[in-house]
Amino acid sequence: MDAAIETDGELLASARALVDELEAGNRAAADKLIDALGKVREQSLFRELGKMTRQLHEALNGFTLDSRVAALAETDIPDARMRLNHVITMTEESAHRTLSAVESTLPVAEQLRSQAGSLGGKWRRFRNKDMTLEEFRAMSQEIEDFLALALEHADRIHGNLSEVMLAQDFQDLTGQIIRRVISLVQEVEERLVELVRLSGGVDNKDAPSKEDAAALARGQGPAVPGVEGAGSTVSGQDEVDDLLSSLGF
């Protein structure tokens, strides 16, 4: 009767056998049966304990060894912080570029206005035939100078307005960076939900796989100083040109 007792039928059979042995006065055989019955309890207890140990082990593994969570905390979050700081720097620079261009345009416009005003007054006196020849000569020179100045100032205004326009490129560049941070925040949220689910006992972890080539093809967004691996990103248009010319461009 050493065989493991598994089913209710076997248990009942063992109990009947025990009574039989006791009635027959076979003490040794009865002891054996009692041992076997005790083992039934132990076995199910060990089985449950084993199950719990495995669950605990998996939960701990899931918690500490999810490399993506570790990477998020160690790399991605600090990266995101640098990216957002870079956004502040870029928007600040753009605002300054715009303000500088406006500040250097305002006096140009003012100079044009005041000279045009002064010449306008003289021109009216000339039309009213209220001007000496000397004054007319001076005005002619002034008109000539003013035309040259207007030409030069128009170019400066055009240049400054182009500067203002180009300064707006921050919207695209910072937009791309912010989009990446948003997707990171979304990922962190998903991981947190996963951890909550894990600690609730439901474990459905899927190994995150990241294909670098695919990520490159999707695009990396603007280079952020100190974030991207140095060396793999070109530092400006000159390096792009060098690289392309090395490729036969």
């Binding site: 326009m165 707006q168 490159l216 695009g219 793999s232 070109v234 248009q237």
Partner: protein, 127 residues
């Protein structure tokens, strides 16, 4: 000269459009990603394509490949204007048949230089 500008950011499209107008190119159209750009290219008679890389939907590199794979569009000059600045990406674009590559942020001078260079080279191979 009809030019298609493809970028998902409308501000960047406006900047490029204005710079092109300064350079004397007044005939421009816009698209916000490869998926909207491709049918425009196939139906319209564009002479030049300026595209960003990183766009939702179809990316610029995929658009470039689609253009090169299309018999009718294969010869279209393509200038990439993008913030993507990894060496592998520039090489990838070159291998896919890009005619010029500008990294953002860029200047009006750079845009003019690259466009001039592309046309010089086209004229040199044509004549």
């Amino acid at each position: 000269m009809k030019i298609l500008i493809v970028d998902d950011f409308s501000t960047m499209r406006r900047i490029i459009k204005n710079l092109l107008r300064d350079l004397g190119f007044n005939n421009t159209e816009e698209a916000d990603d490869g998926n909207t750009a491709l049918p425009l290219l196939q139906n319209g008679s564009f002479d030049f394509l300026i595209t960003d890389w990183n766009m939702p939907g179809m990316t610029g590199i995929d658009l470039l490949r689609a253009v090169r794979a299309d018999e009718k569009l294969a010869g279209l000059p393509v200038l990439m204007v993008t913030a993507e600045s990894k060496r592998e990406q520039i090489i990838e674009a070159a291998q896919a048949g890009v005619n010029g590559y500008i990294v953002k942020p860029f200047t009006a001078v750079t845009l003019k230089e690259k466009i001039d260079k592309i046309f010089e080279r086209i004229e040199a191979t044509a004549g």
